[in-house]
């Protein structure tokens, strides 16, 4: 099997140029492997339906669901209609009929070569798609490489020389550096890198994308976005929920794999990158990877104690939002003496001219007091506090907070004079909220990402080198934690902001975690 030849992308039709609503997909077929699964029901079909409703998909767009379920195409349509009603609410009958007429199902097991021959025949019978095919592997990670192999054996890694063939791969992408590298190598045997779209739904969120706009479409922030003015950066992704019936998965994954290696690293790279030369996929991804490569290894080779740069935690029983919450070890499919971390805090140092000496503190955990994701840029205090002499008072440093979810927006904390004859200061917050400034609902991440993949725009997808670099950074820590049991687990109560060690972790640096 040879890797697919590079796809020749035709020049855009001149009539398309200058149309304001131009982000619409070209004719194509989308083949979903794992079409009977939860992701297809909850995310993929609602996203495709929403794109159809918003007129982002062409009239010749086709969906082929593939799964090991004894369904007919009609069964599949009925199942998807039910899913839409459950997860998106009202379904427009006329629109659904139009969409459903272009939806088919192919039953079969993924290890059967005949399935892929049948699929090829189905695709050949759809000339209106222009030979363009998007494969979505909504399957367990263990099936990614075998599926890619089967596609190639059936000649589906480059279905048509006239069209493009792309493949979307769900996370987790590997479970450490070695497995991620092996998976990349297996995929690269049959697909060009430009054909592979590694999805991280976090990057499809509107606010994450807005960080790029905020930084590079405004002239006032970039000059102070560096070590001269910034004291440190905190990136928090907190969840109030526990592991929710995913005990088996979480026992294998843990917070470091599940959140830090992918979501937090992606956010960090966007916050820390240099200005790309162009707003296009490779230029942006080139800058992001430079940031990740600039991160100093957590410890020098051979050093074993990660406590100065990392803290792990596991929740015990407690209360979240007034409700009693069981401890992690009491959850279903979790070992009673589990060593798996549900909380991680890291201190990273980016070694380049912009960020040298500015620590990036990352934290993520489950069963924290609330669901919040944010980036907080804490600026340095003024060099001289002239207000201290006559009116002793504390002055809070300026903080710029980019809220990713919920209440998406941007806030700046600064000092203001309290009205009155005395010179009293107090911190105030200037707040920009998407919800009140732009009251329109934001698109779901999957809508954005599916459309991007159909358009061949990989900006919001992880490139192989990004995935490997993030694993290279985190794998030594993972291995250390997996070989050395945490003696103090569980070490934080559900509903708290994590273990005391995490607080101490910042106090040692003379700083403290923000309370989001």
């Amino acid at each position: 099997m040879a890797a697919a030849p590079p796809t020749v992308v035709p020049a855009p039709h001149p009539l398309r140029e200058g149309i304001r609503m131009q982000r619409t997909a070209p004719p194509c077929a989308m083949v979903i492997f794992g079409a009977s699964g939860d992701l297809t029901h909850r995310k993929l079909m609602p996203a495709l339906y929403a794109l159809t409703r918003m007129q982002r998909l062409p009239p010749t767009f086709q969906v082929i669901g593939v799964a090991d379920s004894p369904w007919s195409s009609e069964d599949f349509r009925q199942e998807m209609r039910k899913a839409l009603e459950q997860f998106t609410g009202a379904v427009d009958d006329a629109l659904w009929e139009s969409f459903a007429a272009r939806t088919q199902f192919l039953p079969g097991t993924f290890d059967n070569p005949e399935l892929f021959q049948k699929l090829a025949a189905m695709l050949r019978a759809l000339p209106q798609t222009g030979g363009n095919v998007l494969f979505y592997l909504a399957t367990p990670p263990s099936l990614i490489a075998p599926l890619a192999d089967q596609l190639a054996r059936a000649g589906l890694n480059q279905f048509s020389p006239q069209g493009w063939t792309r493949i979307i791969v769900e996370k987790p992408f590997g479970r450490d550096l070695a497995t991620a590298r092996a998976l990349n190598q297996q995929l690269h045997k049959v697909f060009q890198e430009a054909q592979i779209f590694r999805i991280d739904h976090y990057l499809g969120k509107e606010t994450v994308r807005n960080i790029i706009v905020f930084r590079f479409a405004n002239g006032i922030f970039e000059p102070i976005w560096n070590r001269r003015y910034i004291d440190h950066v905190q990136i928090t992704v907190a969840e109030s929920i526990g592991i929710e019936r995913r005990g088996r998965y979480y026992e294998e994954a843990g917070a470091l794999r599940d959140m830090v290696q992918n979501h937090l690293m992606q956010v960090l790279s966007i916050v820390g990158m240099e200005a790309p030369v162009r707003f296009e996929a490779e230029a942006v991804r080139d800058e992001k990877i430079k940031v990740i490569r600039s991160i100093r290894p957590l410890l020098p080779p051979g050093a074993g104690d990660y406590s100065s740069v990392a803290v792990r935690g596991q929740y015990g029983a407690g209360f979240v939002n007034g409700e009693a919450a069981a401890g992690y070890r009491e959850e279903a499919n979790v070992a009673p003496q589990s060593n798996r971390e549900t909380f991680v805090a890291l201190k990273l140092q980016i070694e380049n001219w912009r960020w040298a000496g500015v620590p990036f503190y990352l934290r993520s955990g489950k069963r924290l007091p609330k669901r919040v994701s944010e980036v907080a840029i804490q600026f340095k205090s003024p060099p001289f506090l002239m207000f201290q002499d006559g009116y002793p008072q504390s002055i809070e440093p300026n903080v710029l907070v980019i809220r990713i979810q919920p209440d998406e927006g941007i806030a700046l904390r600064f000092e203001a004079k309290v009205p009155g004859t005395d010179m009293r200061l107090r911190p105030v917050k200037m707040d920009f909220q998407y919800g009140t400034s732009f009251g329109e609902p934001q698109p779901e991440a999957y809508e954005t990402l599916l459309l991007d993949a159909m358009l061949g725009d990989g900006m919001l997808f992880a490139r192989y080198d990004m995935v490997e670099s993030a694993w290279a950074l985190t794998t030594p820590l993972l291995e250390s934690w997996e070989t050395e049991a945490a003696k103090d687990f569980p070490n934080y109560a559900a509903g708290s902001w994590g273990p005391e060690a995490a607080e101490e972790f910042l106090r040692r640096d003379g700083r403290e975690w923000r309370r989001p």
Binding site: L15, P59, Q433, S437, G439
Partner: protein, 354 residues
């Protein structure tokens, strides 16, 4: 739903000196900042909407509240009261969108209220819904304040030539937007989505049939703009003009035909567009409440889209159409080029049709 706060500025006698202006501003600020009901929010633009009368103001207020979610604006709804009616100023703020000032005033006095109250450093858009701006002495007063002027030629019964004149005569620094052109955006988009197979390359297009209301009777602006768009983007030049349409020459020299068919409809809107190649055709058709698109190959249907939602997308509401124009920061150069090109081609066609 966001709560709207309103207040009658009855305490103001409308003598616009500094003191009274401060009172107006204070009242406005109070509306905007009244606790949780109207939290501070970001504004994106100023929108001066010169409406026809109080009823039109009411109608536009509904549209603009809705638009505030996407285009948070300081809105001035301006109109002259009927003979003998008292001057009036009403203020309103919406918790998740725009601020609105309704001014029933003599236009010169109204402009002197609007000017100092424009939100600083934000663009000013004038939406003109009065009479023909070409002959209205009030139009220059308002257009002088604006960076961008929006008109709806269909509503104002303006011909393509009048729109072109208006575009050329705006004050320096102001650009024109026209809502008939905006209404064509989804038609253009649908057409692009249907351009498959041989039609995916410009050389594959052999014939275009445009069916529109108002053809031949003062000219359909929609047909003029659509024709201008095709010619501008594809480099077509008219060779032969007949009552049926235009025989054009492509850049490489081959002919391509544009046919015009009048629709039985009084409005100058598109009803159907058919683009044909040797074997493939795409038809976009507006019928009743729906718009359908059909792609055929050798006479067989290979793609079809019928549904209320595409219909909604094409037959967009006034709010949606206006929303698209408010998204544009600067001028729309393509519109200007398309208008000039369309006028040049259609002027040739209209003469024999008449």
């Amino acid at each position: 739903m966001a709560k709207t706060l309103t207040a009658e500025a009855t305490a103001l006698d409308l003598c616009w000196n500094d003191g009274h202006m401060a009172a107006l501003e204070a009242q406005w600020r109070a509306l905007r900042e009244t606790g949780e009901e109207a939290p501070a929010h970001a504004l994106a633009l100023n929108l001066i909407c010169r409406v026809a009368d109080a009823a039109d103001a009411e109608r536009m207020a509904q549209h603009l509240w809705k638009l505030g979610r996407r285009h948070p604006a300081r809105v001035f709804l301006v109109y002259s009261g009927a003979e003998g009616e008292a001057d009036r100023v009403r203020l309103a703020a919406c918790a998740d969108g725009s601020e609105m000032v309704e001014l029933q005033l003599d236009p010169r006095r109204a402009a002197s209220v609007v000017m100092p109250n424009l939100a600083g450093d934000l663009p000013v858009v004038l939406l003109w819904r009065g009479s023909d701006p070409g002959g209205d002495p009030e139009f220059p007063i308002w257009s002088a304040l604006a960076n961008r002027v929006l008109v709806d030629a269909q509503r104002l019964r303006l011909t393509a030539a009048q729109v072109a004149t208006l575009a050329h005569e705006l004050p320096v620094g102001a650009t024109l937007g026209e809502l008939t052109w905006t209404r064509l955006t989804p038609w253009r988009l649908l057409l692009c989505q249907g351009l498959e197979g041989e039609l995916a390359v410009p050389e594959g297009i052999r014939e275009v049939t445009i069916t529109a209301g108002g053809l031949g009777a003062g000219g359909s602006l929609a047909a003029t703009l659509f024709t201008g768009w095709l010619a501008e983007k594809l480099g077509w030049e008219a060779m032969v003009v007949s009552t049926e349409g235009l025989l054009c020459r492509r850049p490489a020299g081959e002919p391509v035909r544009i046919r015009f068919e009048p629709a039985n409809h009084h409005e100058c809107l598109l009803r159907r567009v058919v683009v044909r190649g040797a074997t493939t055709a795409v038809t976009i058709e507006h019928h009743g409440a729906y718009v359908s698109m059909t792609v055929t190959h050798d006479g067989a249907t290979v793609g079809q889209w019928i549904g209320s939602s595409p219909g909604e997308a094409v037959l967009r509401s006034d709010s949606d159409t206006l929303s698209e124009e408010l998204s544009i920061g600067g001028g729309d150069d393509l519109f200007r080029r398309v208008l000039d090109r369309g006028l040049e081609l259609m002027a040739q066609w209209e003469a024999p049709a008449a």
